[in-house]
Symmetry: C2
Subunit: 143 residues, 2 copies
């Protein structure tokens, strides 16, 4: 899709222009659910993103200030990608998307994800805030 931003002033359109493609959201998933934060970890997902696409998407997400890139003193090859507050603000939407996916993809979805969504549904605001805290502190949903 032609990504020249500014097709309209619609809030949905803005969201879609910012993160509305498959790979961006899968990268965000890897951070929120699995606590990944290096290029190599993102590359190693079930969906098998191509190396050039990953580099391109990471760069876009950093430009959009959804991710932040910082160097890693312990290993200068492995730069660290962390999620910003703007990125963390996606969590409620992200879990709603997950809830929908679980509902209509029920049989195939891993049990841990189904269980997490059950918990989410009981108190969405609380669970979302807890996860935000956890991710801010360097953790993730499944870790």
């Amino acid at each position: 899709m032609k990504r020249k931003a500014g097709k309209s002033n619609c809030a949905i359109n803005y969201s879609l222009e910012t993160f509305g493609d498959m790979w961006s959201l899968l990268i965000i998933r890897d951070i929120i659910l699995f606590g990944k934060h290096t290029y190599g970890e993102f590359l190693d997902s079930d969906e098998r993103i191509a190396t050039n696409i990953l580099a391109s998407k990471l760069s876009c997400l950093v430009s959009a200030e959804i991710l932040h890139k910082s160097s890693n003193p312990a290993d200068k090859r492995k730069d660290i990608y962390t999620i910003t507050e703007k990125g963390l603000a996606l969590i409620p939407m992200f879990f709603e998307m997950m809830e929908w996916g679980v509902k209509y993809n029920d049989l195939k979805t891993p049990k841990e994800a189904v269980d997490f969504i059950k918990k989410f549904k009981k108190n969405k605001i609380k669970v979302a805030q807890e996860v935000m805290e956890k991710v801010r502190a360097g953790g993730s949903v499944f870790s």
Copy 2:
């Protein structure tokens, strides 16, 4: 993006493979927010979707059972697209996406959308259910 489904069993991946592209969600927006339901109405949005892409996306959404297509006795040219229960179940996610977009696109977003999201934030479950009812009954958020 190569749309051959089944890259993984992840619920997020399933969601993205089903509706995770710009145009699908803008069509869903047009139905939920503006009560559009014909090809010509979808074509007439600010974002200017191409005719072939619109036809293709409508067909995908019908296949995915998010939309339902029915003929219109009053004008046999204008078939009617309505949203299914599976599509209506996207509403909570949709409003969360809108909330995020409003937050970070604040100045540009139309006032009516900003106001609606304010209302949504006060009681998300209630507003989502009310809108579902309204859309089921043939209405929309801004109508």
